[in-house]
Subunit: 233 residues, 2 copies
């Protein structure tokens, strides 16, 4: 793909493990609350609360913990104890310092690409969480630009491309979410590569009929990226 000179990567579950950290935290809270709340009921109600709170709190660990507390208060019939609340907050605090585990072949692939391409991270979420993860990942030295955004829409990508004076035909986005990393990117005429991760948050899932237009490439593994860039795409 001789036209591409800027490659942007999503971060959570594209460069490093993220969703399993949320799942693990949810499991811990199920155990903490198992005296009051049936575990499956907690998961179900938590998702409902999270979606309702998304427009109030946005994405990230702090909003997740507040939704967890709210769900626990409601499902326990307000019988939750102060001690249990503190335990939930502690689970949230642990999440903020959880080791940033890179996915396989990330460092090697990024190092291979940085000689030839301008590399960016475009990640959605909480500014504080994401900056901390970028720093802790050790990947920051390999990237030229970082954009932490509150949502990934067509306008988000147009603004970023405009800001850096990048033409859509020169821009490739790589990520695990069809909804956030692929569809809005192909819609503006830029390139996108989808690398699925084994776990996707319900909210990021989309119906298959939304993706009948296969204007993007799906890769199983990021290590295949340099080769595909040399091909005709």
């Amino acid at each position: 793909m001789p036209d591409i000179n800027v490659i942007a990567f999503d971060a959570d579950d594209t460069l490093w493990v993220n969703e399993p950290i949320f799942n693990k935290a949810e499991e811990k809270c199920k155990r903490i609350l198992s005296d009051h709340i049936e575990p499956d009921r907690l998961s179900e109600k938590l998702y409902e609360t999270e979606i309702k709170n998304l427009k109030i709190f946005g994405y990230g660990i702090k909003g997740f913990v507040l939704s967890l507390i709210e769900t626990a208060v409601e499902l326990s019939g307000q019988n939750i104890s102060g001690h249990e609340i503190q335990e939930i907050i502690n689970v949230g605090k642990e999440m903020t310092t959880h080791p940033v585990n890179l996915l396989p072949c990330i460092e090697q692939t990024v190092c291979e690409l940085k000689a030839e391409y301008t590399l960016m991270i475009i990640t959605k979420g909480d500014l504080f969480d994401q900056e901390s993860k970028i720093a802790r990942s050790g990947l920051d030295q390999h990237f030229d630009h970082f954009e932490i955004v509150s949502s990934k829409t067509v306008d988000t990508y147009l603004n970023i491309l405009n800001h850096y004076s990048i033409s859509p035909s020169h821009f490739l986005m790589v990520g695990n979410s069809l909804k956030s990393d692929v569809l809005p990117v192909t819609e503006i005429g830029a390139h996108a590569i989808h690398i699925p991760f084994h776990t996707t948050w319900e909210h990021e899932k989309i119906e298959t009929n939304e993706t009948t237009d296969k204007s993007y490439i799906e890769l199983e593994d990021i290590s295949l990226l340099p080769k595909i860039l040399e091909s005709n795409f």
Copy 2:
């Protein structure tokens, strides 16, 4: 000041009212918890918890609410009820949709300056909160660039100036916090104007001896800004 061509404004308590919203929320929580907790003790302990949590949660409403809950759990000897916890969360939710009240003369001053200067907002805090406030303020149409950052240090300003290719001698920062908006800016050789706000969060206060070098100007009111820019500073 013929050299200046970019003016950046802090947002919270420079463009619009912010700290009083946190104070009002704290007062509400004191009333909610008055059966268990002596109001002054709550304020004191809350500040301690907030400072301890700052490096875990960062700035913003969500971190504030989590610190409030943690403080309430601890000071109540874990005897807080689920209902009270939910009431605290509701106070936090109200904060996220509190009307954005512009300070006097902001719109008129910004409109006057935008013909002649590139205008930016550089604001510290939670990405989601700040984006929402910028949109709700109605001021977004008058500004050229927005930077939401997690802290305002010398490096933060150097990165922003570098990113937009602005020389420090052409850059003026206007804000209410000596610690965040003035001192790191004058340290890199750029210009700063301090416009004090009647309330400053304890954490943003600095000792007077840190500011013996008066390399910045203090204005009482933002409406004086266009005139001072015409003068020799």
